[in-house]
């Protein structure tokens, strides 16, 4: 009885539900208007699949496909690399004792948060040009890794701070090497932080427009640059259709991860 009551604050449930409603309500608008027969995103003109045909078979279809592919691969790569870098940095910051320059390193890690995006964008492009780096996929990836680091680092570090050293000490007492105790003890304990950091890095990369727009090369398009670039025509329901498809893909991932997770737990 005591256990239940200290864990569960009744109002927290309502707030969590409110939170989900706020998060998802605008997405319903997106989904509904992806089926709009009219080219409007505010006036309803009847039910139609024309924008889905447009996305898959229209003249712009190859470009949208390429943009979606670029966005997803860059987000996966950038989030993976940034999370790895951030995990290493968190170990050094919290499990390597005090050292000179720790505060400075902390400021360094968070620097991408502090500099306005447009400034990073222009400055990075000038820098890449100075060192003769041809803009393209790789420059986008590097830029994304850079600004993803604090988003991955902060949740990981917040988690690591809460992990008591005694677990690792116990592992070491049982003659586990440092590598073994990291992979078998510390990393599983850190997992919620690592996953949180990875997810944040992923969505921040997937969403980035300003920096990408400056460091991308000729012919390179990501979904955000395609969406923001539509100003001459205005946003049309084809963008809503693409967004709905992206939602579909993400929900597919959620379902898969849930099923794998459940299967993994059922088998001994």
């Amino acid at each position: 009885m005591a256990l239940r009551s200290v864990r569960h604050y009744p109002s927290f449930f309502s707030i969590a539900m409110l939170c989900l409603i706020i998060l998802y309500a605008p997405l319903i608008v997106v989904m509904v208007y992806s089926f709009n027969d009219s080219p409007s995103i505010t006036n309803w003109g009847g039910l139609s699949l024309r924008w889905y045909f447009d996305v898959f078979t229209g003249p712009e279809a190859p470009r949208f496909r390429a943009a979606a592919w670029n966005s997803l691969t860059i987000a996966v790569l950038a989030a993976t690399i940034a999370t790895a870098i951030a995990t290493a940095a968190a170990l050094a910051m919290l499990r390597a004792g005090k050292f000179k320059g720790r505060s400075l390193t902390f400021a360094l890690i968070n620097l991408p948060l502090m500099v306005p995006e447009i400034v990073i964008a222009v400055a990075t492009l000038i820098f890449f040009t100075m060192i003769g780096f041809t803009t393209g996929y790789l420059t986008i990836l590097i830029a994304h890794i850079t600004f993803c680091i604090p988003f991955a680092y902060l949740p990981i570090a917040a988690r690591l701070q809460g992990i008591d050293g005694s677990y690792e000490a116990a592992a070491r007492d049982l003659y586990a090497t440092r590598a073994q105790s990291f992979w078998l003890v510390l990393l599983p304990l850190m997992a919620p932080g690592v996953i949180s950091g990875y997810l944040l890095a992923f969505i921040i990369s997937l969403d980035d427009f300003i920096i990408t727009n400056f460091v991308k090369g000729a012919g390179m398009e990501t979904l955000p640059t395609a969406i923001f670039g539509s100003v001459k025509q205005g946003i049309k329901p084809n963008i809503m259709a693409i967004s709905t498809l992206m939602l579909g893909v993400s929900i597919l991932f959620v379902t898969l991860s849930y099923l794998i997770n459940r299967k993994g737990r059922q088998s001994p």
Partner: protein, 307 residues
């Protein structure tokens, strides 16, 4: 400061001492080369002469900082006085970011707590559920939010239908809309770090306190909060700092009637004002402000550590 808090001195706290340099090297290299160098370049730009409509002329000038701090009237011939225009832009942006951060915390903490108390198998799904909406581009999400809260939009229709209000609420182009937009833009950046910290929380602590007749709110304040503080701070940093420079929510939901830090800087690089040194200077001032805040915070942490 999340990530630089005190260590209690068990041997595990120094496990990685010998590997410190290789562990930090990637961070130093990536941020050092691909961020510090460009930012240093921008710092230099803020002291150069502006080229009309974008670009710089390599001549030293304090014009950018002069424009920020000193008012010489519309035609530049009045006696100099302190310029309030940009200071008030900063004040407005900071107030807005602070409100958005508070909102995110008030909603985000209970949500994170709720997720952390689900059975372990479903926690991952809940985390995904929080981030799924962010697969849709921020621009589209903001436009849809705008659609929802407009004067004759679905939200007003629903409220009118239930009889809670008799006149449609004017939400669009208000501060409320901007805060809602910022809240909506950054919510997971609050929820996920807090979740990462709460998930670790040992509930037997709460039970022990409850046995001693502490009320649940006292437990939350006195026992839970100090332990999950690193997560809360990480979340606040991830929401507050980007909110200050945000410009989609203020522009699309707030009506863009007044400059915010984000739109002020954007105008210098991507729109007609085209004053790169000034844009660079505003960014440097913003960056210094955030750095000072972080340093003050670090110092107060160090003081509590020393106690």
């Amino acid at each position: 400061m999340a990530g630089a808090a005190p260590d209690s001195g068990t041997s595990a706290e120094t496990t990685y001492r010998s590997a410190r340099v290789p562990l930090l090297l990637p961070t130093w290299l990536v941020i050092g080369i691909f961020l510090i160098l460009p930012v240093a370049l921008m710092a230099v730009y803020s002291f150069l002469t502006k080229e009309m409509r974008g670009g710089v002329i390599w001549e030293f000038s304090l014009a950018a900082y002069d424009q920020f701090f000193i008012n010489r009237g519309l035609f530049g011939d009045e006696p100099p006085s302190l310029e309030w225009t940009y200071i008030s832009v900063f004040g407005r942006s900071i107030a807005q970011a602070a409100t958005a951060t508070t909102l995110c915390l008030l909603i985000g903490f209970p949500t994170a707590w709720f997720i952390a108390t689900r059975p372990p198998a479903t926690r991952g799904v809940w985390l995904f559920l929080i981030t799924v909406p962010y697969w849709v581009n921020l621009l589209i999400r903001t436009v849809s939010l705008r659609f929802l809260i407009r004067e004759n939009g679905p939200l007003n229709d629903a409220l009118l239908g239930t009889g809670l209000i008799s006149e449609p609420l004017a939400m669009i182009n208000t501060n409320f809309a901007v805060q809602l937009g910022l809240f909506y833009s950054y919510l997971p950046f609050m929820v996920l770090p807090i979740y990462a910290a709460v998930e670790r929380y040992n509930f037997t602590l709460s039970e022990a306190a409850a046995d001693l007749y502490a009320s649940r709110w006292v437990i939350l304040r006195e026992i839970v909060l100090p332990i999950v503080k690193p997560g809360i701070i990480a979340g606040c940093l991830l929401v507050f700092i980007p909110s200050m420079g945000a410009f989609l929510a203020p522009n699309l939901l707030g009506g863009a009637k007044n400059f915010m830090i984000g739109s002020l800087i954007e105008e210098q690089f991507k729109r007609s004002l085209g004053n790169w040194p000034f844009g660079a200077a505003v960014s440097m001032i913003l960056m210094s402000l955030v750095l000072i805040l972080l340093m003050l915070y670090a110092r107060s942490m160090a003081k509590t550590e020393a106690r």
